[in-house]
């Protein structure tokens, strides 16, 4: 149904942005996790967006292609008294950059809002169109 594909477009963007928000929340929550399930410190993750323009005309929604791990090196801090310190007395800390994550979070929430607005406006227009010729 081409009439309702605007909802698909905005809906896909909303779900992609909320996935980005999830990843940001996970990064911020684990900003101090020195040990993960594999014994390594937590590594920051980032989502990669991909346009879903399937048609030849290049109009479409957006999706998350994959969630990639930040390749930046882990932070190392000299804490010889820490139980997880290595032989030289260094502890590996997550490579999460809290400032960048906060900026990411604000950007995601703004984009989400914009798409909600698009969807609401469209809903009103569609409802009005359905009552065409009445009354």
């Amino acid at each position: 149904m081409s009439m309702f594909s605007v909802f698909d477009i905005s809906g896909s963007a909303m779900s992609a942005q909320s996935q980005r928000m999830n990843v940001t929340a996970s990064n911020l929550a684990n900003a101090d996790s020195v040990a993960g399930p594999d014994g390594e410190a937590y590594r920051a993750k980032q989502v990669m967006f991909e346009s879903q323009a399937a048609s030849r005309r290049g109009v479409g929604g957006v999706g998350v292609r994959e969630v990639v791990e930040d390749p930046a090196p882990l932070r190392r801090e000299y804490r010889p008294e820490h139980p997880l310190a290595d032989e030289q007395g260094y502890v590996s800390l997550p490579n999460v950059d809290p400032v960048a994550e906060m900026a990411n979070m604000i950007s995601a929430s703004r984009s989400y809002q914009a798409n909600v607005e698009v969807m609401n406006t469209n809903k009103q227009l569609m409802l009005k169109t359905l009552t065409l010729g009445e009354g």
């Binding site: 605007v6 957006v62 227009l125 010729g133």
Partner: protein, 138 residues
């Protein structure tokens, strides 16, 4: 009689469906505001509307046309070919990741387009009301 009705509603109908097309394009721009490499698109609404109404009015050029073997046959016409040729927006400030969506511009265009859609809708509605009233027995 019926084709006259259609002719009187044709313009608003074309305008409405083109507005809807444009709405989709703008929604897609807003949705892809954070996609690396995405190029914002838009259409030249005036030119597209002129093209659409010319096709509809002349009864030719659009989609498949119906062969008429008798002068009394109505001119039939299939769905016009997909319209709305899309152009690329020229960015004011290109970003590093190749994305050319300017959120302010897109949202302005979207609000503008919504209001104009509503205006077309109101116009079409009042035209239908007028025709209905004219057909009413008093």
């Amino acid at each position: 009689m019926i084709d006259q009705l259609e002719a009187s509603l044709n313009f608003s109908q074309q305008a409405l469906s083109l507005r809807h097309e444009r709405q989709k394009v703008l929604a897609s721009n807003i949705a892809n505001a954070d996609t690396p490499g995405y190029k914002a698109r838009d259409m030249d609404f005036g030119a597209e509307l002129a093209k659409a109404t010319r096709q509809g009015g002349a009864g030719a050029g659009g989609g498949l046309s119906l062969a008429r073997t008798d002068g009394g046959h109505l001119a039939g016409q299939g769905m016009p070919s997909p319209r709305g040729e899309l152009l690329y927006r020229v960015p004011d400030q290109p970003s590093l990741d190749g994305n050319t969506v300017d959120m302010d511009r897109e949202r302005t265009a979207f609000a503008d387009n919504s209001v104009r859609y509503q205006a077309s809708l109101t116009l079409l509605n009042s035209r239908i009301q007028g025709l209905k009233k004219a057909m009413q027995p008093e």
